[in-house]
Amino acid sequence: MRAEGNRNGSGVKRLLTSNEAIAEAVKIAKPDVIAAYPITPQSPIVEKLAEMVESGELDASFVRVESEHSAMAVIHGAATAGARVFTATSSHGLAYMFEMCWWIAGSRLPAVMAVATRSIGAPWNIHGDHTDIMSLRDAGWIIGMAESAQEAFDMTLQAFAVSEVVNIPFAVGIDAFTMSHTAEIVEIRNAKLPERRQAYRILPGMEVAVNAVTMGEARMKARYDLAIDLEKSAEVIERTDGEFGSYGGLVEKYRLEDAEYAVVMAGGWCGDAKDAIDMLRDEGVRIGMLRLRFIRPFPEKAVKELPSEVLVVDRANTGIKGILGMETAACGVEVKNVVAGIGGLDVGIDDFYRLFGKFVDGKLEKVEWLI
């Protein structure tokens, strides 16, 4: 993948929400087929893409479907025939397409999906947390989490390049509203994506059965191969990130070099948490952040290099624990774990400052909920 600078080597700066930034990136990726069903807060992504198709700016088939299950089924079918494909969803939409998410991953088809991460009911809630996208983590997808509109733009383009090399679908997560509907300055850079490639294509006239019934041996092998290839995709993610974006690969290390205390987080709220880290740094506290840019493959190597005092702040839970807290602990790291910001409950700079202060003072329980 290669960045194509505009005239002076850089891109055009525009004021865009993360939703709009993703739509601009998709336009540059030139997908053949887009299928989507509207759901808050993702809808502006595909509305923008629909406008681009309508106006002729983007030469793609936009398939209007009656459900998210069909959206994923359509891009699954199109990808099988060799089309570059995109969809976007959130929350209940992701829940509704959950089955097909497993099919497209198991079929080893490249695809890109944006997820504007939103709480899943009940009770009814349209606001941000990471409950929805975390449910994808067993399905065999690459799962990235952007922190800014710029990163959402860059990661979406990286997603097409990575997915089509490793034959694994790629989900790009952006936080509901704080990113999806919040405008930031984004540098729109043209990119030269390689030609679409994939492990196999099924075209009319071919006599072949796709995903016919298997017994345990074949299914086990397919699942093992996918798990191994998902781990190996880290190399491709890091290489592609180096070519276009340079965020640090699977993780971003923020003020970690000499840190005694480390905070592990993912997503849009990391920006506010970094401000709180800066405040504590000004007071002489050696604290930093490991921002997980990817949930799958999980950045195990970077997690294992953390200092001994680790706090994981989660926006999604499994039982009483946070999901990233559990994942980090599974790498053999002793963690304190806080679950916060569910259903869009605001966690601001001051909240992070107080929370991190409590962590540094050794006053946090093993697992706490910031209610």
């Binding site: 198991g106 196999y200 019934v213 298997t214 017994m215 074949a218 191969d225």
Partner: protein, 82 residues
């Protein structure tokens, strides 16, 4: 990347001849069968074909679900234990 679990011949999947799973075998009476084709359309495995005197079933893949017997207007199909 090994694609063999995903892609297979159009007729024999990696699970092999699934007819071995069958507990009941559909038997077609050539006297009663009118070759209307209803069972051909309804067979979920697509393993019933038009024969000379009656429809014919590919027992290598018939799992014995009995849908053909249910949809047969002539009551020409009987399910017998294997």
């Amino acid at each position: 990347m090994d694609l063999s679990p995903i892609l297979s011949e159009a007729t024999v999947a990696s699970a092999g001849e699934t007819g071995s799973w069958r507990n009941y075998r559909p038997l077609v009476s050539s006297e009663l069968c009118s070759k209307c084709g209803n069972c051909i359309v309804y067979c979920p495995e697509g393993v019933i074909f038009e024969g000379v005197d009656s429809v014919e079933i590919d027992y290598r893949f018939c799992k014995g679900c009995g849908v053909c017997r249910e949809v047969c207007g002539q009551k020409a199909i009987e399910m017998v234990p294997e």
